[in-house]
Symmetry: D2
Subunit: 137 residues, 4 copies
Amino acid sequence: MPSAEEIVTRMFEKDAFSQWLGIERLAVKEGYCLLKLRVREDMLNGFGIAHGGITYSLADSALAFASNSKGRQAVSIETSISHIQKTKAGDCIVAEAKELERNQKLAHYEVRLYDEATKHTVALFKGIVYLSSKNWD
Amino acid sequence: MPSAEEIVTRMFEKDAFSQWLGIERLAVKEGYCLLKLRVREDMLNGFGIAHGGITYSLADSALAFASNSKGRQAVSIETSISHIQKTKAGDCIVAEAKELERNQKLAHYEVRLYDEATKHTVALFKGIVYLSSKNWD
Amino acid sequence: MPSAEEIVTRMFEKDAFSQWLGIERLAVKEGYCLLKLRVREDMLNGFGIAHGGITYSLADSALAFASNSKGRQAVSIETSISHIQKTKAGDCIVAEAKELERNQKLAHYEVRLYDEATKHTVALFKGIVYLSSKNWD
Amino acid sequence: MPSAEEIVTRMFEKDAFSQWLGIERLAVKEGYCLLKLRVREDMLNGFGIAHGGITYSLADSALAFASNSKGRQAVSIETSISHIQKTKAGDCIVAEAKELERNQKLAHYEVRLYDEATKHTVALFKGIVYLSSKNWD
């Protein structure tokens, strides 16, 4: 079976949208991952702050990488995100995904997103994935 | 006070990320909006399907437009999305945002996302916005 | 296979907590149910209004009855509730559960709770159930 | 201003439903609380396990006590709960509520519920409260 890092590298190389987002992998372990994104001008909404979809997308990539890294293919079924603090162009956001629980069918993750410079929480994300019977090979 | 359509046009013109997504406005009314997005290759994830962040971003734009269209400036505080069906490059997704409730401080919206061709539900989104004391003028 | 009404009657007869709540079944169909509860003094919290757990419990019973009524045994995995309006002793709350989506493994429901007298929304509930391989017989 | 413990004692003494649930206060601090509940026969559902409303109610009381304990009156607006493990009559469930974030208008809490004997997670709860302008006095 491939290692956590091999699985995530393989996922990331085909993940066109995570690449467009400029996502950087800071750390990957089984059931865990730490990602980083620098907010750009083309990620802003009509209020001149990062679109809610940018922070969500970063968290959702973190969920996908962390939950697949244990070897079983996993698909996100339900997620929620609380938007806590605005971010603007130039800000760097770090997302830390941790596994809370895993049984035969489902796994639960939380992802905390924070500003790299100030460490202040930007958003709180919670996700549930369905564990398919298919393994990464 | 500007009309619902004037507010959303003004928001959209400055919304760089919604423009990158290629979002089309099909209909805008007070507390309501109907948007469309065509999934492109650069929106796919490592499984070759639309990244969860794409459907979320479409729903979040729909929430922002619908909730601001009544004149008070609104900020998303909590959202959740259930991913129901995968979409691939070339698929067109429609998002319909409707207001469920509004009081002095908060408003609740639901957004249903469906495949334009098959009408099958792609995702179900729920969002709460905080209504600021600032009006669109 | 038993009918929707037979399944729900069987569930309800063993459901000690739904009985303590005084839940009344107004209508039961496949994937649908309409319940009613009268708020009592012993259901109030420290603010003299119905405890959030009362409205949640009513919605959760509605989810269980509606999702099991189609014949497959179903277990709630993730639910959320937005509390919109306070209720006090003597108020009657109606909960209407509807199926939004169902595939082989999961089904999605929404439950709207409203005041029977004023029809005003009391809470909005969303739930996902896991469909086991076991049928009601 | 009253202390965290004084506020929670005052809330608890008027909270008829938390008393019916047999909730015990193990610890109370500003923005924090630890509660315990023993599952009884009259808390079970039609499957012979604790009704989802019981674990939710315990978590919701923990949210109310923790969020009010800092002096400003707080009202729950949005909560979600993931049901992870079944509990049966006789099991003791502990709920630990922690504040994640607080600004002028809103505060975010998480509540982990676990089996006192096995320490296994029973449910994961997330809640947002609206902070009113009214203080406890």
